[in-house]
């Protein structure tokens, strides 16, 4: 109920558009729009009030506009029953939405060079990030990839918000053939990047973090974990994260993330409880008090 926290709204759908393989829904949600910072997401109820689909679906916020007091847009591809229901929404339908959720992308204090890397629908949150970085005088370069050409999102806007945009498809149907981490080294060198931001599937985030590491660049990654609540109360979305104190904790992707420092994510151990994580089986508190629980960073 604080002013900066998330809110729950019944928001009218303004427009539903098709953009290549994606659907874009814009809703009127002034309270969410005014609180939004890039990297945050929405949790959208699907299937109607009496639906058997109990859980909300998380979607990155792709765009926020001042129209009608504030609108919010998200992009999605149809993956299952929830997203197919969403794809059938029409303007003036009401959506039950909670947002903005999660820890946003931290922005650099100084005008530095930033490369933003997105895979599939993970490109969506990079556009408001690019705008926020530009407002701070940062240089922005984009590397956007997907399996096929129609899944590379925002290819038209990309050239507008970024100095350069490199497109990558696995089948080579658009731009460079391969994975986003392939051209990343070259982009980092050519644009003299200082920071890397990334959003997409876990293996992609791992490859991007490893590449940035080679250039000793810090990385901010936004992870996609399955979420039951999105608000931090169920503990279903955890990822092993190394804290400032060097201790690994099972951190919640929805409130401690979805944005984490790449080098703090134990990519090799995602899906497991690392043996040395705080509270892992056999784990023992250190006599010096190390391991007292604190939020992971």
């Amino acid at each position: 109920m604080s002013d900066s926290g998330p809110v729950q709204m019944r928001s009218p759908v303004l427009t539903v558009r098709r953009v290549d393989a994606y659907h874009a829904i814009t809703v009127v949600a002034p309270n969410i729009a005014e609180r939004f910072r890039s990297g945050q997401f929405l949790a959208v109820a699907v299937g109607g009030e009496h639906s058997g689909m109990l859980l909300r679906r998380p979607f990155a916020i792709h765009d926020v506009k001042p129209d009608y007091g504030g609108t919010v847009e998200f992009l999605f591809s149809v993956a299952g029953a929830g997203t197919s229901w969403l794809a059938e929404r029409r303007s003036r339908d009401l959506l039950d939405i909670v947002g903005p959720l999660g820890r946003p992308f931290p922005l650099p204090r100084d005008p530095v060079n930033c490369v933003l890397v997105g895979g599939g629908s993970g490109c969506a949150p990079l556009f408001p990030l690019a705008q926020a970085l530009r407002r701070r005088g940062c240089r922005v370069d984009l590397v956007l990839g997907a399996a096929t050409a129609d899944r590379v999102c925002g290819s038209i806007t990309a050239r507008r918000v970024a100095e350069t945009a490199t497109f990558v498809t696995e089948d080579g149907s658009f731009g460079v053939r391969g994975r986003v981490s392939d051209p990343l080294g070259r982009v980092i060198e050519e644009t003299r990047s200082d920071v890397v931001y990334a959003c997409g599937p876990m293996p992609m985030l791992r490859a991007v973090t490893a590449m940035a590491d080679r250039y000793e660049l810090p990385t901010q990654v936004s992870v996609e974990e399955s979420m039951a609540c999105g608000t931090g109360i169920c503990m279903s979305c955890v990822v092993p994260i190394v804290g400032d104190d060097g201790i690994t904790r099972m951190a919640r992707a929805c409130v401690d993330g979805p944005v984490f420092r790449g080098e703090r994510v134990r990519f090799d151990d995602v899906g497991t409880i690392p043996f040395d994580a705080l509270g892992a089986p056999g784990w023992k508190a250190q006599p010096d008090g190390r391991g007292a629980d604190r939020e992971a960073g």
Binding site: S226, A228, I233, I273, L278
Partner: protein, 315 residues
């Protein structure tokens, strides 16, 4: 006319019967962004253990028709951090804490109860008995009434006499009423029912279990009729024992259903995930509904379904 919403769980009075279910309200802080926690009858905490606990590998959940399977593994910071950080916070916000405890042996549960009693401010201690008992080949404490009774007895003996102790039971046991009676004989002041029901889903793409551990606990509206039946049977067998009823509560009408079956208080669990302001909405719906029926005191509703047809209600 507005109704008197107060109810009693043993020695403790709650302002209204609606509370959160253990493990479904975070520390209270997360939910407080959507619900005024001081307004709720009580806030049940995630089951707290002696040591910090990392929980189970992921994926930890899968959506199922009108419900979900979960296998969280009691991830939590342990009693020290709970007493230092979470309990004071709940109390500072005017929350009424029902503190759920979990352990691997009767002495562990007893130690937790002792620490909570000393801390002060705890309204109810709820014993989560759906925990593996290493001394019983890892079967849950609920799987053997004698083991469950041993834990209840240990907790009751180490808890301040002003704090009621509730035993929380899972529905999928051989003899629920036998288990409930064993807990009451071991001096449980009340029963919480139900915990999640063991279930499984197979991922259609990988043909592997959808939840990492294979087994998950089923919760949500899908289990409500099972939960209502459990409450009904326990009430019939033990009419003087207060019950905190739960399992799939989604609306104010569901609260009435549980109360009629025999619950004195009713907890909202999984639905908080789907609708973070659910508790406030359900309380509002419940208030409107009892006022509309002209119920003077909601405590009169408890066990209404057990009365002969035609018996008057409220007024």
């Amino acid at each position: 006319m507005s109704s008197d919403l107060r109810i009693r769980l043993g020695r403790v009075e709650l302002g209204n019967p609606i509370m959160t279910a253990a493990g479904c309200a975070g520390t209270g802080r997360e939910l407080a962004r959507f619900v005024d926690i001081a307004q709720m009858g009580a806030i049940a905490t995630k089951s707290v253990m002696l040591e910090p606990r990392a929980g189970r590998p992921s994926p930890r959940m899968a959506e199922t028709p009108s419900g979900m399977l979960s296998s969280i593994g009691l991830q939590g910071p342990g009693i020290d951090v709970f007493l230092e950080r979470d309990l004071p916070w709940l109390l500072s916000r005017g929350g009424t804490p029902v503190v759920s405890i979990a352990g691997g042996s009767a002495p562990e549960y007893a130690e937790l109860a002792r620490r909570l009693s000393e801390a002060g401010g705890v309204a109810v201690v709820e014993i989560n008995l759906s925990c593996p008992n290493p001394a019983d080949q890892g079967r849950d404490f609920t799987d053997d009434p004698a083991e469950a009774a041993r834990v209840v007895h240990a907790v009751r003996s180490h808890t301040h006499s002003d704090i009621p102790v509730f035993a929380k039971l899972a529905p999928d046991v051989a003899d629920l009423v036998g288990l409930a009676s064993a807990c009451v004989e071991a001096r449980a002041d009340g029963l919480s029912m139900v915990n999640t029901i063991r279930g499984m889903a197979i991922d259609p793409a990988t043909l592997r279990p959808a939840v990492a551990g294979g087994l998950g606990g089923l919760s949500g509206p899908a289990i409500r009729p099972i939960a209502v039946n459990c409450v009904y049977r326990a009430r019939a067998a033990l009419p003087d024992v207060p019950i905190i009823g739960m399992g799939g509560v989604r609306t104010g009408a569901d609260v009435l259903e549980f109360m009629a079956a025999g619950a004195t208080a009713v907890a909202v669990g999984t639905v908080n995930f789907a609708d973070p302001s659910a508790c406030a909405r359900i309380l509002r719906e419940f208030e409107e509904s009892v006022a509309g029926r002209g119920v003077a005191r909601v405590s009169e509703l408890v066990g209404a379904a057990h009365r002969p047809t035609g018996a008057s209600l409220g007024g």
